[in-house]
């Protein structure tokens, strides 16, 4: 296997492959930076264009778009509080407060380095651990996936925000929003109120842009045409030097990259979960957890390295088992099939140059991020955001409209986005955290589907949820987080009561 890996390196370093990597990375950063456009859409649009290309060039484009868009998503997340991709949600928590404090440049630089490091670790994991880690995922059944989803949901609800009950209510609101539409297992309609539009449920992208992108734009609109952002926010060269960043964040990067790689291997768990879990872990281990959410660069480093570390590792089950871990992995499988290659274990023996070449390409694009992301794209997009607020508001709203309209070609989606925007605005003002709502929409259906599968397989034996060793491990971890956070909240309340009296 090591020999095949080395043999594939010259293939990935061919001129055509390198050009496709650079073009793909630039397209990816641009797509990720535009709210409403996502890497899935970009890769899906690119695939038909690559029919006539060599598979190595086609996969180079895919690798570039994939890694580039994951970093690109952090640019509007940091500068505008609008996550360019769902995976950039956690980046907004500290990235945007940093911009408001005049540290936008440092946040972008941290995000760029963290994305690159996460991507490199992920590609190395794909190259070295693929066959071994694929075996571990085989031990995950629906019961384990149910607990993974519950763990993601509850830990975020409890750790984000100051009030546990508000966090839980936000998460449950998200779960209920995710219930709307036709039930995937029984085919019955739930909470559709006889409306045709609701039969398909709410599109995650519409909910996401509504909840996350509309409220900050409305807040911007409310300010007089003054500088909403600190002019110094966009200086890209401020803060530590590159060596300083490495010294400061290597622990966070290591931890988050490991989390990202592990999450990536689990089919169905995307970069957003990796980023949120990494963020939580960084917050939990920090000596100053109260500074998270107010502009702590470690939050940005954790979120970005976590979501990028998920990229290549999500390919592990796809390439080794032929089971796509996420939508992009499914598209990569599609790209392989378009070029006459059959995904699965045989791929490694029949087309080693292509499969190992693709692994090298993922590694090379992660490295290219430092050059293209830091030197070209970040500066370019940061300049665009220097526009006066009165012009930034309508142009951002037009960008959102085009992004949402292109999802389904339906104008109703725009009204729904605005409605979710108002809900998000209100929740923000009432001090309810928004991240658990999105997580609820995302993980609620995953938890439900796996719970029902578990019940079907076990013939309604509930004990199966608690008796499998991996499930039990996740439950113990979840209980530890819940108890420690409840204890912290209780102590804080007692302290403030004593302080007030």
């Amino acid at each position: 296997m090591f020999e095949s890996l080395l043999n594939a390196l010259p293939v990935a370093l061919q001129l055509g492959s390198l050009i496709s990597l650079v073009v793909g990375t630039l397209i990816g950063i641009m797509i990720g930076a535009l709210p409403g456009l996502n890497p899935v859409m970009a890769i899906a649009l690119m695939l038909p264009l690559t029919y006539g290309f060599d598979p190595v060039i086609a996969l180079g484009l895919v690798a570039g778009i994939y890694n580039g868009s994951m970093y690109g998503g952090s640019i509007p997340a940091i500068l505008l509080n609008i996550p360019g991709t769902p995976a950039a949600i956690a980046t907004t928590f500290d990235g945007y407060p940093m911009t408001r404090k005049g540290q936008g440049g440092l946040a972008l630089k941290t995000a760029c380095w963290s994305s690159a490091i996460g991507g490199i670790v992920s590609a190395l994991a794909l190259m070295t651990l693929a066959p071994m880690l694929a075996k571990v995922t085989l031990a995950f059944g629906p019961s384990e996936y149910f607990w993974v989803a519950i763990f993601g949901l509850v830990s975020i609800a409890v750790l984000v925000g100051k009030d546990i009950s508000k966090g839980m209510l936000s998460a449950l609101l998200g779960v209920i929003i995710g219930l709307v539409g036709v039930d995937a297992i029984s085919g019955a309609e739930r909470y559709t109120f006889g409306t045709l539009y609701l039969v398909g449920g709410f599109d995650l992208l519409i909910v996401l842009i509504g909840l996350y992108a509309v409220p900050p734009v409305l807040e911007m609109a409310e300010k007089r045409n003054a500088s909403y952002f600190n002019a110094d926010s966009f200086r890209v060269t401020d803060g530590d030097g590159s060596l300083g960043l490495v010294r400061r964040y290597w622990r966070t990067w290591t931890r988050s990259s490991v989390i990202g790689v592990c999450v990536g291997i689990l089919p169905g768990a995307g970069g957003n979960l990796a980023a949120l879990l990494s963020y939580n872990e960084a917050k939990r281990r920090a000596p100053d957890p109260e500074t998270f959410g107010t502009g702590n660069p470690i939050g940005v480093a954790a979120a970005e390295s976590g979501n990028s570390a998920d990229n290549a590792s999500a390919m592990i089950p796809s390439l080794t088992l032929g089971i796509p871990g996420n939508l992009i992995a499914a598209l990569v499988l599609g790209a392989l099939m378009i070029h006459g290659l059959q995904p699965g274990p045989q791929l490694f023996t029949r087309s080693p140059d292509v499969v190992f070449g693709f692994m090298w390409q993922l590694l090379l694009t992660a490295m290219l991020l430092l050059l293209l992301g830091g030197m070209v794209a970040t500066r370019l997009f940061a300049q665009i955001l220097r526009m006066p607020t009165a012009l930034l508001v309508p142009t951002t709203l037009v960008l959102m409209a085009i992004g949402i309209y292109t999802v389904n070609g339906n104008v109703t989606d725009l009204y729904v986005m605005l409605a979710f925007g108002l809900i998000g605005y209100l929740l923000n003002r009432l001090a309810f955290p928004l991240a658990p709502v999105v997580l609820g929409v995302l993980l609620g259906p995953m938890a439900e589907q796996n719970l029902r599968l578990t019940m079907l397989i076990s013939q309604n034996d509930w004990t199966v949820l608690f008796t499998r060793p991996i499930s039990l491990g996740i439950i113990i971890l979840l209980a530890t987080i819940l108890l420690s956070q409840s204890w912290k909240a209780l102590r804080l309340r007692r302290h403030s009561a004593r302080h007030d009296s």
Partner: protein, 151 residues
Amino acid sequence: MPMTYRDFFSGIAFLIIGATTAWMGKDFFADAAYIPIGAGILMGVFSLPLIWRSTRSLLARHHSSQPVMALVDHPGRFLATLGCCLVYYTALPSVGFYTTSALFIIVLAPVLGERRPVVVLGITLVFITLLYGLFAMVLRRPLPVEFFLAS
């Protein structure tokens, strides 16, 4: 309005949403009802501490020492932005994407305080041209056709 009132009313709102979700969920087919009922009940349960804490605080006439954030900072600009968005979305299918978007920027920017017509027109032109280049020429995404091009 102090935060405690807001917490009280948001707690009540969540209690109603939770109860309605669980009540509607009981009619769903077999195991399709598990999560709706569970989520509804849990929402009701978690809204209770919020209601309890805010009620207790209100009865004790205890006001939070933290500054209260207004629900809407500037209602005029807030409503104008929402109104412009609604008109924009309504006009989009019949007037066309690029025309409506250009008009939307040209109208909303002065409403929000931009008083330099050349800057507004210049940025609108550049922005719409870039959008056209990306979405119509590169990505070829179907968008509402301009009214003057519709046959």
